[in-house]
């Protein structure tokens, strides 16, 4: 499913002293199959944007009025938000079906666990999204939970009967992710999936997301402000600042704009810093800013020039 947003704006607490404009005329397209990174500072609107994608935040209803629609048609700045075939500007959208197709993992998802056993918790979404007249049987549930736990690298026979509160932090997070992917969403959105984990845990989660992207969900969107994470993993990235999309580029082009990014209060990944340091010393390394790509580029230089 392809995501198309055009002229999307959102204001929190409109017409009050707490009014804050979170999104300001955002237009962004995310193609199917992408591993998409959304970058931005705290309060840049990135979380607000992704919450629109599964209907947790709605396009403001004033924009759906007759007069607004007419005016929008006239000056062609109509707010548009489409996820696959779902038109999120319409009131008639089936938000349940949308949420089934677009899985959302919030920041610190381990704090949403509640059930008595891991199995019940993972099955929560499965039961909620089941059609009324065809409740999944116990075997179906068990199979789906087993697969989902397997997909996040946990052993069903070991954890399924345990209380989710007895697991370690990293395991809890995996269970929470399993609870979202168990319904096989086509798009998986993760808000800061690696926040608060130790470096090894971070690496594990990102490897896990790669596996999921390959075998489980067509499109994966991660919201992050860790540049290395984006550089290593993403095929495409967008930078949010002050409620607007400043750049939408593949990481290898994006991270050449070190000055522009630092003006927005953002860093560049370690590999890009190394490339710049080498550039200053007269060595040009052409790479895609992944660790692997950087090493390969340096090795290629070494092979060519004998020393690097």
């Amino acid at each position: 499913m392809r995501i198309v947003a055009e002229h999307l704006s959102y204001t929190y607490n409109p017409k009050s002293p707490f009014e804050t404009k979170a999104l300001d005329d955002v237009s962004l397209t995310i193609e199917e199959g992408e591993f998409f990174g959304i970058l931005g500072h705290t309060g840049s609107g990135k979380s607000t944007f992704v919450q629109h994608l599964n209907g947790l935040l709605r396009v403001p209803s004033s924009l759906r009025g007759y007069r607004e629609k007419k005016r929008d048609r006239e000056n062609s700045s109509r707010t548009l938000l489409q996820v696959g075939d779902f038109d999120l500007t319409s009131k008639k959208t089936d938000f349940r079906a949308l949420r089934k197709a677009v899985g959302m993992v919030f920041q610190y998802p381990e704090y949403q666990l509640f059930a008595e056993t891991v199995k019940d918790d993972v099955a929560f979404g499965l039961k909620n999204f089941a059609e009324k007249n065809q409740k999944p049987s116990a075997e179906e549930i068990e199979r789906a939970v087993r697969e989902a736990l397997g997909a996040v690298g946990l052993d069903y026979s070991e954890v399924a009967a345990k209380s989710p509160f007895d697991l370690s932090g990293g395991q809890k997070r995996r269970v929470a992710i399993a609870g979202v992917i168990v319904t096989r969403p086509e798009i998986l959105i993760l808000d800061e999936p690696a926040a608060g984990l130790d470096p090894l845990g971070k690496q594990d989660i990102l490897t896990l997301l790669h596996d999921l992207h390959r075998r489980w969900c067509k499109t994966v969107i991660i919201v992050s402000h860790d540049m290395d994470e984006i550089a290593e993993n993403c095929t495409m990235s967008a930078v949010f600042a002050e409620g607007q999309v400043k750049y939408c580029l593949p990481p290898r082009e994006l991270f050449q704009k070190a000055e522009e990014l630092s003006a927005l209060g953002l860093d560049i990944p370690l590999t890009a810093k190394l490339c710049r340091a080498l550039e200053e010393r007269g060595v040009h390394v052409d790479c895609d800013f992944t660790t692997e790509g950087f090493v390969r580029a340096v090795l290629a230089l070494k092979a060519k020039g004998g020393r690097a």
């Binding site: 947790l56 949420r99 899985g103 959302m104 949403q112 929560f124 609870g179």
Partner: protein, 279 residues
């Protein structure tokens, strides 16, 4: 969740905002007493007038103040309806059917009741609109100081209150977040019968309780780390002071209470005297 206007602070600078919180608390008590002492349209009208003046001087929009009634509108209408239909006074019934009787007195009585309830809610929310939670607890602590003589833990009580108030928005945010997370997993809080709806709360309640306990632990540790030891050796950052504004309002409160009591005792006579003087 976001429509809770009761108990919110409205951040502008105004005459009412600058009043001493102790005075505002006392005034609120006096005002509530006045509402219940008042038993005629004249005296209730006086209360309404004072409230309108207070709102006007506070620069809080009238709509915002009226919105605080929304939460109790059902209660207000229900009691009004019950009173109109069941009040049996001495006068002739205007309308009778089965067990229902409508009398003139009943109608008057329920209009009073509605006015009183609305005044009660709006004046209390005026206090929270114009006073920061910190100022409010400072005021309460200061007013309760005499209780220290009987070893009542006034300071601890004030601290508990201010922490509770401080945590309301945090826990509301948290609720919103957990609710969204469960919604994303297909949880449905809007449809179904009462049993289904109550069961639907469990996935919010458990994570919320856990996070409240976690936060309480963290806060306790943070306070220990900064050597918090109750009110021993503690000084105030902001001292409450009584100014000319407070004096005016204090006099106004006393006048209001006296006026309402006089109107109750002498009622129409007093008005007769007044009208006699004017005419």
């Amino acid at each position: 969740m976001k429509d809770v206007s009761f108990g919110q602070y409205y951040p502008v600078d105004s005459f009412v905002h600058r009043l001493d919180p102790r005075l505002k608390l006392l005034f609120l008590i006096v005002f509530i007493a006045a509402i219940f002492v008042a038993n005629s349209f004249w005296s209730l009208g006086l209360c309404v007038l004072i409230l309108i003046a207070a709102v006007a001087f506070s620069r809080v929009p009238f709509g915002k103040v009226l919105r605080s009634v929304r939460g109790v509108i059902f209660l207000v209408l229900f009691t009004a309806a019950v009173n109109v239909l069941f009040y049996t006074g001495k006068s002739e019934p205007l309308w009778e059917w089965w067990i229902f009787t409508v009398t003139r007195e009943g109608i008057v009585f329920s209009v009073f009741l509605v006015l009183r309830l609305i005044l009660l809610v709006t004046c209390s929310s005026m206090l929270t609109y114009t006073t920061t939670p910190v100022a409010l607890t400072d005021g309460i602590e200061s007013l309760l100081t005499p209780l220290k003589w009987v070893h009542f833990p006034v300071h601890a009580l004030a601290l508990i209150m201010s922490i509770a108030l401080r945590f309301i928005p945090i826990l509301m945010d948290e609720t919103e977040r957990i609710k969204n997370a469960q919604k994303a997993r297909g949880a449905d809080f809007e449809s179904g019968g009462i049993v289904k709806r109550i069961r639907a709360i469990v996935p919010i309640l458990i994570p919320l309780l856990l996070s409240a306990f976690r936060r309480a632990d963290e806060l306790g540790d943070a306070m220990d780390a900064r050597c918090y030891m109750g009110d021993k050796h503690r000084v105030k950052y902001k001292k409450l002071t009584f100014t000319w504004r407070d004096l005016i309002v204090a006099l106004l409160g006393a006048a209001l209470l006296a006026g309402v009591i006089l109107l109750r005792i002498y009622g129409a006579d007093l008005l007769g005297v007044y009208l006699g003087v004017v005419l």
